[in-house]
Symmetry: C2
Subunit: 208 residues, 2 copies
């Protein structure tokens, strides 16, 4: 796979990544083989290694990046404009629905077990995803503050971190139990806490 890829080559490579992502979602990374990918994408062994010379790990990494990109995209445009309470609730609904539909395979979580979390490439992908996700949430909190719906003293970053943790945990519990109750509870609880901080501040303001 020297310097350049022709349009045809690029198309094939993309087909492989997308097909591999499908296979991984369906069978789980532990049971997905290169032959499955080959069959699904209508390619041959040599193509797989032509576009991913370092073999399976490199392909898995590409799929991980592909999936990571989708995670945030799937939450748009809601995640991008969390400037009112309604917007927050709509976003919550989108998140819950997305993961309920996803069923019981976490494309990213499983990927990293196979590749190894410590692999620099893998780690970078997930760290960057978490960073962006948390940044979007923090920005949403600040938007509430800017709109005067939340006191400025409220710690936006800690709120975003806690919310993100709740989402991750809710999803992983759902993967094991099949129930989205925990995901809902985490989101509802988090948003509720912010609303309470808002009304408490109102009371305080009124009193002051």
């Amino acid at each position: 796979m020297p310097g350049v890829l022709t349009p045809k080559g690029r198309a094939t490579r993309a087909r492989i990544v997308e097909g591999a992502a499908e296979v991984l979602r369906e069978k789980g990374v532990a049971f997905a083989t290169l032959d499955d990918v080959r069959a699904r994408t209508g390619t041959s062994k040599s193509q797989l290694f032509h576009y991913f010379p370092d073999g399976k790990d490199q392909l898995l990494l590409a799929v991980a990046q592909y999936e990571a990109d989708r995670v945030l995209d799937d939450q748009q445009p809601y995640l991008g404009c969390l400037d009112s309470w309604d917007a927050w609730y709509r976003w919550r609904d989108v998140v819950v629905r997305r993961y309920e539909e996803q069923g019981d395979h976490c494309p990213l979580g499983s990927l990293f077990l196979q590749i190894g979390r410590s692999t620099p490439g893998a780690r970078a992908i997930v760290v960057e995803l978490m960073r962006q996700w948390q940044a979007s949430l923090a920005q949403g909190v600040r938007a509430l503050q800017a709109g005067g719906r939340l006191p400025g003293s409220f710690d936006a970053d800690q709120a975003a971190a806690a919310l993100l943790a709740g989402i991750q945990g809710g999803v992983s519990i759902m993967l094991s139990t099949g129930e989205s109750a925990h995901l809902r509870a985490a989101l509802d609880w988090g948003i509720a806490r912010m609303r309470e901080a808002a009304t408490a501040a109102d009371r305080g303001d009124r009193r002051a």
Copy 2:
């Protein structure tokens, strides 16, 4: 492995499970082989299959149960007596420390990817663990309520669910990033919300 195991047999079996657990923690389930277990425990292939006739999956399941049992044990006695704010903070510290020490391999999480979450046995283990964990937390919330530190209207089960989700997510983020900040944020945020509910109720009581 007919009906009974002699004392010697039981010891060997236990040695295998514990050794396998160590190996899995160190290498990760994706890379641990029966030969690793064999070497670590000083046993032979035939013993492995003597005590676990259904092979690797059965062994992994036994390890999963073993690890699941430890999760709650490691939080005792703190998890069992969450009847004051101080007790909650002490418990939080224990949880954070336990997972910081555990490093970057989640014995349970990874196990289920290999076995397959949908396997009835695997699912049962994790569902039961979550159930007990959440029940303990809910009991702690009710203990606060019984002590008059928290209004009775507070939803203990939702609180427990949200806290549990936060823990799970905090841990899984820590596994990927190496930072325990999210775990701390989730716990602190959750406990803080309860305290606020308490003080808000105080204000309300005073006002009423």
